[in-house]
């Protein structure tokens, strides 16, 4: 067993209000630069919708992620190993700027400088790439809140496998429903971006699992952009380097939550350490689709188990990190309560960002609405909910409904348990029966309620000590280091000629 620690995340979709504060926080801190205008390391999508870049989930189009071909081999779908040789000059599956959007600004000067005339001068949109006037056809969150549904929502790749009736229902005016999907890089265990980089510029940090791109080693071969199935590596068209979410590691190293986590208005974001067995990554990534979610969970180790603790210490994991793992909110959501699920696990990158699937309103047309005390099935509205179970399962269960249903039933049981406790319009007996049927207890339900609703900053973000003092450059005599390698960048990172 080779134990490593990973800073992991949970996004509680039931709480996301789609305010985009997270995206703006990230943009202001990291991507407000030339060449990065179009990048949203954090973006929030409306589901159903085609997302950003358009239809990123459609791997027929983008060939992102891994494929496991019957004979037990894991292959990069786009340009792995040998395929890179003929494809290095032109990457056949790479998205272009048109799949994202062309960034633009407005020609404000025209408001002041326009020659006198009979009409009001306007500030026309101009491209931020070439400065030419553009006819804006796409932008960040172009389909926010179901805008342009017939063009966007209807082409959501997750609608696959839904009946015609379910699709119609999703777009009929009175039953329209949507939820938000905030996305950042998942800092995957079996990262396809890392595996695909011909230069070996991408790497996972051993101590915290953050996936980074070495800007000095990136040579713009663009393989990672095609390989990441979540399209979370971006090509900077100006510097000629790929870039991605860095999980605000400079903030984490000083004990602060990443900017998007810190600013999240709905407080939907949780961050904490998971200990996992790095020896089994490949074995798990090869499992059949329906075993992937459980397989990934089996990688995560119990930080309270003395055997695990002993081995973790042998593998060089600091005591403070183990302690953080024991208090990790992510461990609770993913392992204890099992109500957080990885997105699109069928891409086989083993993402370490998990989502609590959202509850949705029940069908308005049902005569008996919220709960039928008389019915035997107290969870009827979960299968009848306006967001078809199959849709959520395509997102969070590789098409298999079991895990999603389990998570939703538990969430509902927690709600009715709390209702019985505080409002009292649900009788205790029904609430208890629901808890039982949802595989939970009063204690667990209270714990879920507390971490969901009453959580403080410290509850949500259990940031491990990052031990930067152990970094190689700090262990060296500074003078020696300077003599050997100089001061690093001379004159700052500049686009090459």
């Amino acid at each position: 067993m080779n134990i490593r620690s990973q800073v992991s995340m949970v996004f509680h979709l039931d709480k996301c209000i789609g305010c985009h504060t997270c995206s703006v926080a990230c943009k202001n801190v990291w991507t407000d630069r030339k060449g990065a205008e179009y990048m949203w390391w954090n973006n929030v999508e409306t589901k159903p919708g085609t997302g950003y870049p358009t239809k990123w989930e459609d791997q027929e189009k983008y060939k992102g992620g891994w494929e496991s071909n019957g004979n037990g081999k894991l292959k990069i779908k786009s340009t792995g190993k040998m395929k890179i040789i003929p494809n290095i000059f032109h990457n056949p599956h790479m998205p272009s700027i048109d799949d994202y959007y062309e960034p633009w600004t407005y020609d404000y000067q025209n408001l002041f400088n326009a020659p006198e005339g009979t009409d009001q001068p306007t500030a026309v949109p101009v491209s931020m790439i070439d400065g030419e006037k553009i006819d804006v056809q796409a932008g960040p969150n172009w389909d926010d809140d179901l805008g342009g549904s017939p063009i966007y929502a209807e082409h959501d790749p997750n609608l696959q496998g839904l009946s015609e009736q379910q699709r119609l229902q999703l777009s009929s005016v009175e039953r329209l429903v949507f939820f938000y999907l905030p996305r950042i890089c998942n800092h995957c265990l079996n990262a396809c971006c890392v595996a695909s980089c011909p230069s070996g510029a991408l790497y996972k940090r051993g101590e915290d699992g953050i996936v980074l791109i070495d800007q000095k080693k990136c040579r713009a071969w663009r393989s990672c952009v095609s390989a990441c199935p979540y399209k979370k590596t971006y090509f900077n068209w100006f510097t000629g380097k790929s870039e991605k979410c860095i999980l605000c590691f400079p903030r984490l190293e000083t004990g602060q939550a990443p900017a998007c986590f810190h600013s999240c208005v709905g407080r939907i974001r949780y961050l904490g350490v998971l200990l996992y067995d790095a020896d089994r990554i490949e074995e798990v990534a090869k499992l059949p689709d329906d075993e992937l979610v459980e397989g990934q969970r089996s990688l995560v180790l119990d930080p309270h188990d003395p055997a695990v603790i002993a081995q973790a210490k042998r593998n060089g994991i600091a005591d403070g990190v183990i302690e953080a793992a024991q208090r990790s909110p992510v461990y609770k959501f993913v392992m204890k309560w099992k109500i957080a699920l990885p997105p699109h696990i069928e891409f086989r990158t083993l993402p370490m960002l998990f989502y609590v699937p959202p509850m949705s309103p029940v069908q308005a047309s049902k005569p008996e609405d919220t709960i039928q005390h008389v019915s035997d099935n107290l969870f009827h509205d979960i299968d009848d909910s306006r967001v078809p179970m199959k849709f959520l399962a395509n997102l969070f269960g590789a098409g298999h409904e079991g895990g999603v249903r389990y998570a939703l039933r538990k969430q509902k049981a927690v709600r009715w348990h709390r209702r019985a406790e505080t409002v009292g319009d649900v009788d205790r007996e029904t609430a208890d029966r629901m808890l039982r049927e949802a595989d939970t207890t009063r204690e667990e339900a209270d714990a879920i309620y507390e971490l969901t609703s009453l959580c403080t900053f410290e509850d949500r973000f259990v940031i491990p000590p990052m031990h930067r003092e152990q970094a190689i450059e700090m262990m060296k005599e500074p003078h020696e280091h300077r003599e050997e390698t100089g001061f690093g960048f001379v004159g700052g990172p500049q686009r090459g000629l």
């Binding site: 272009s96 048109d98 070439d130 230069s199 996972k204 000095k216 000629g240 152990q470 262990m475």
Partner: protein, 229 residues
């Protein structure tokens, strides 16, 4: 006398200056500005014409350059191969085909960069100079192949010794002095390109990703060596 002086300048002094610049500046740039080592791909901004320009250009120029290097490195084997006329034809025709591919691809690259305004913004003055040089080089190469045939043989027998003499630090220009002007132009421009190389996007050639095929898929970096922690 002046002809001799010119030959000395073009085929002795210039090559040394260019080769020296090449080695010094590529290493300097790699050490001090490794961030600037990038292929600066523009595929992201324009994905359709890219394929038809960049792919033929790269395959063409790689094969042609490799051919020159082989003829330089093992001239005798080339001559032996060419001793049979059929094999000589095959070699000459395929060299010409790849030369044409280079030229067509290069024209495609230039047209693409001229016509797409987004690509124009990521094309530096250096790029234009480089493209002009490569264009003349590719065109002169093809012209040589057409007007002075059997280049693979005379390159191996006459130019290879000259190039070796440069590398052995005892330059001997008798071989090149007798060459036609077109060939001389091609040689001079080749050295100028080598000298210009470190100041252009060509440096991406030096960082072609070789360890990729052997390395493990996942790359992990630790703060220090793990045992020290």
């Amino acid at each position: 006398m002046s002809q001799n002086f010119l030959d000395q300048f073009l085929f002795v002094a210039l090559p040394y200056v260019c080769l020296f610049t090449f080695f010094l500046m590529t290493i300097y740039r790699y050490r001090m500005q490794s961030f600037s080592y990038s292929s600066l791909s523009s595929q992201f901004l324009e994905n359709k014409h890219h394929f038809w320009a960049v792919v033929p250009f790269h395959y063409g120029i790689l094969v042609v350059t490799a051919g020159h290097l082989v003829a330089f490195a093992i001239p005798r084997s080339i001559l032996a191969w060419n001793s049979h006329p059929l094999r000589l034809y095959v070699l000459e025709v395929s060299a010409l085909i790849f030369g044409l591919m280079t030229l067509i691809g290069l024209v495609g690259v230039i047209v693409r960069r001229l016509t797409h305004s987004k690509i124009r913004t990521v094309t530096s003055p250096t790029d234009w100079v480089l493209f002009a040089m490569l264009l003349v080089q590719a065109a002169s190469g093809i012209a040589i192949a057409l007007f002075y045939p059997w280049g693979s043989s005379w390159f191996a027998s006459n130019l290879s010794p000259y190039l070796w003499s440069i590398f052995k630090l005892s330059p001997d220009v008798t071989y090149v002095a007798a060459m036609p002007h077109l060939v001389k132009l091609h040689i001079v421009l080749a050295f100028v390109t080598i000298g210009f190389f470190p100041f252009t996007r060509l440096v991406h050639l030096l960082v072609i990703p070789n360890p990729y095929l052997w390395r493990k898929p996942q790359v992990v970096r630790w703060y220090g060596t793990r045992s020290k922690i």
